[in-house]
């Protein structure tokens, strides 16, 4: 009996964990994000001082799901419509300035370039670095559009989550085997940690001789360091939901989160060599966390990163 149970458990190691991720990590996360965007859009004001608190609430609720770029987020460019960053050529602000004079409707906004939509677009209007005239209509439509995108993401995770929960069942061409759904979430964990190290940390880090705090995510709203910490917390939650019994991964995350919490919350301080080194040490810790998670969770879940995507030619 015990042997039979063990064999069954080994045959389907992925199913239970995948279901828990969908039900406890993904869906509640996107619902909270949708609620936060709705709360922001419903505020009857376009005074930046009034809106900033709700903007932070939206961003805080985005970070727990920002790494979930598959499925609903890749349809219609929704993930990019929430967070088009980095934007190295500043295309967002250039295009947004043109929209200030003739603000689009919500329907028209959905057809605009992702560069003028979402959190960075809203941030530029609520935390302007230069005077912006008559921003009210564009603030309102940007907030409404973001709420619509968030609602579509939350709704999309209904059917898409069901596909994950029914992975391997007849007719499910999206996930042909149970472990394909697990592998998809495992890949999100790995790419989430890569994005954190390479982009959220790497872009402002630049080089020792030339730090680039100006390239940081959400710099105007002073969220750059906060987002790094929130990203680590979110990815730790994903890892431990995928496989609660991952002591090495847990330790690696806790070490990295500890380092992140000691950083100066002002990203501009990384022009100071000591602060720069602390951020670089965190970047190394994030990369080590990725390697640890892949080595520990992969075998435990019975999945690997993509054969072709990991090493191209």
């Amino acid at each position: 009996m015990r042997a039979t149970f063990l064999a069954l458990a080994l045959a389907t190691p992925a199913v239970a964990d995948t279901a828990t991720v969908v039900q406890d990590h993904v869906r509640p996360g996107f619902t909270a994000f949708a609620n936060a965007t709705r709360a922001l859009a419903n505020i009857d004001s376009c005074d930046p001082d009034v809106l900033r608190g709700a903007f932070h609430g939206v961003y805080d609720s985005w970070m727990p799901v920002a790494h979930l770029t598959l499925g609903p987020a890749e349809e219609d460019g929704r993930g990019l419509a929430v967070l088009f960053w980095p934007d190295p050529k500043g295309s967002g602000w250039k295009a947004q300035r043109a929209l200030l004079a003739a603000p689009p409707t919500v329907e028209e906004m959905a057809q605009q370039s992702v560069a003028v939509r979402g959190l960075p677009a809203l941030e530029r209007l609520l935390f302007p670095t230069e005077p912006v005239e008559n921003a009210c209509p564009l603030i309102q439509v940007t907030a409404d559009d973001l709420a619509a995108t968030a609602a579509a993401l939350a709704a999309g995770w209904g059917p898409y989550g069901d596909l994950m929960l029914t992975a391997g069942q007849p007719g499910n061409d999206r996930f042909l085997k149970p472990e394909e759904a697990t592998q998809a979430l495992f890949t999100q964990l790995a790419t989430g940690l890569e994005t954190l190290a390479d982009r959220r940390i790497g872009r402002p880090l630049g080089t020792f001789d030339k730090p680039r705090p100006d390239l940081a995510e959400a710099r105007a709203s002073h969220r750059s360091i906060r987002n790094i910490t929130l990203s680590l917390v979110a990815l730790k939650d994903l890892a431990l939901t995928l496989n609660p019994d991952s002591p090495k991964t847990l330790a690696a995350f806790d070490h990295a989160i500890g380092l992140a919490e000691t950083l100066d919350p002002d990203i501009d301080r990384i022009t100071d060599p000591q602060a720069w080194l602390k951020l670089e040490i965190l970047q190394q810790a994030v990369r080590a966390t990725r390697d640890t998670a892949i080595a520990e969770l992969g075998p435990a879940l019975g999945v690997e990163l993509g054969f072709n995507s990991a090493d191209g030619d």
């Binding site: 598959l70 890749e74 219609d76 460019g77 990019l80 419509a81 980095p86 934007d87 190295p88 050529k89 370039s113 992702v114 061409d173 042909l176 085997k177 394909e180 592998q183 998809a184 890949t187 982009r199 993509g306 054969f307 072709n308 995507s309 191209g312 030619d313």
Partner: protein, 371 residues
């Protein structure tokens, strides 16, 4: 020698000269990995494995003989082997090794009449490109030509015999594949005559970090797929079309789709009306029409191998699945325990670059064998 044995021996000696039409199958070749071992598989039109042979290391692409049921499987770069496979039996007929100091680069192609095999190669120390030329009667090396660029990857024969060469532009460490010249790389697409004479060349002055790596033929145009080595935040095209004599067209998909492939195209294939590129990094493929307009995008993790097939396109992924791809979507055809590697190579005559019909070679009738 008994008559039966003699006939069987004769049959074995004759069998390797079978044509694609004679054997009917396989339709594709694909390299793959199962466990820790590497194989080359012959796949049917519906994606099931008909034969497999063990490879000494990781494979990459293959080149199909224009008439005979014979193909060459290339090692992944930096390549030390290429195997000539009898696709009727799955047996290895010859093993090719590059000259000292030279490495195969994963791709090759036959001349129009099948008399010559051309192989994409680099001088190991410098990544300077060469095109190795082999006599296919006994697979002896005849000569080599300059590729007119650094790091050639895919080479493709045009229906008139000219040779297109994707010089990827990346200088690599001869041992560990480390990229050595990313800041000043200069890929190009070069056209050579049947005899290896330089005819024409284009490069991408504004996108010098977009490595031109893979090729497909579409009407009069050479469709080329690229891999971006610059800032990943910049949306750059992964597909270009070049009709020699004209300026190339770069095909950027609209809006947020410009980021879907994450700057990376792994394979390219073309039918008369469509061009398909895959991106394992983006977990997606894209279809374009003959003018380079984006038609559709389909998502699937780790897609890479792609070939034109009678029904449109067949693509493979790193999870062992063979798919049929059309404008409408992906339909699974077959699943294997083998993780399919970068390329799927169509055999026989499924594409627009088919050779002219060739008469069948002499065959022994089954009645004769019965003795």
């Amino acid at each position: 020698m008994q008559r039966r044995t003699f006939l069987a021996t004769l049959a074995a000696a004759m069998a390797p000269r079978l044509t694609w039409a004679d054997i009917g199958a396989p339709a594709f070749l694909a390299a793959g990995k199962r466990g820790h071992d590497f194989f080359l598989h012959g796949l049917s039109a519906t994606g099931t494995s008909l034969f497999h042979i063990a490879l000494p290391g990781r494979g990459h692409a293959a080149a199909a003989h224009p008439h005979l049921a014979e193909a060459v499987a290339f090692a992944r770069r930096p390549g030390t082997f290429a195997l000539v496979i009898d696709c009727a039996t799955g047996e290895t007929r010859h093993r090719l090794t590059p000259p000292a100091g030279v490495q195969f680069n994963g791709h090759g192609t036959y001349s129009l009449d099948g008399a010559l095999l051309m192989t994409s190669e680099v001088v190991a120390e410098t990544s300077e490109g060469r095109i190795g030329v082999w006599d296919t009667a006994r697979y002896t090396r005849l000569t080599d030509w300059p590729s007119h660029g650094i790091g050639p990857h895919e080479i493709k024969r045009l229906p008139d015999g000219r040779l297109a060469v994707a010089n990827g532009g990346i200088k690599t460490d001869p041992v560990d594949r480390t990229k050595l010249n990313i800041p000043d790389m200069r890929p190009n697409l070069t056209l050579l005559s049947e005899d290896g004479e330089f005819l024409d060349q284009i490069d991408l002055p504004d996108l010098r970090q977009n490595s031109i790596r893979h090729l497909a033929l579409q009407g009069d145009a050479i469709a080329f797929a690229m891999q971006w080595e610059g800032d990943p935040a910049e949306p750059v095209p992964q597909l270009g079309l070049w009709a020699p004599g004209k300026a190339p067209t770069l095909c950027t998909p609209p809006g947020a789709e410009a980021f879907t492939l994450q700057g990376y195209a792994g394979s390219i294939a073309a039918t008369e009306t469509r061009i398909l590129i895959t991106s394992p990094k983006g977990g997606a493929l894209m279809l374009f029409d003959a003018s380079g307009q984006h038609v559709s995008t389909h998502h699937r993790p780790d897609l890479c191998g792609a070939a034109a097939s009678s029904g449109g396109f067949t693509v493979t992924d790193g999870q062992g699945v063979v798919w049929s791809a059309s404008d409408e979507g992906l339909v699974p055809l077959a699943t294997d325990k083998t993780k399919w590697d970068n390329h799927l190579v169509a055999l026989g005559c499924h594409t627009t670059s088919c050779p002219p019909k060739h008469f069948h070679l002499v065959q022994i009738s089954s009645g004769g064998l019965g003795g």
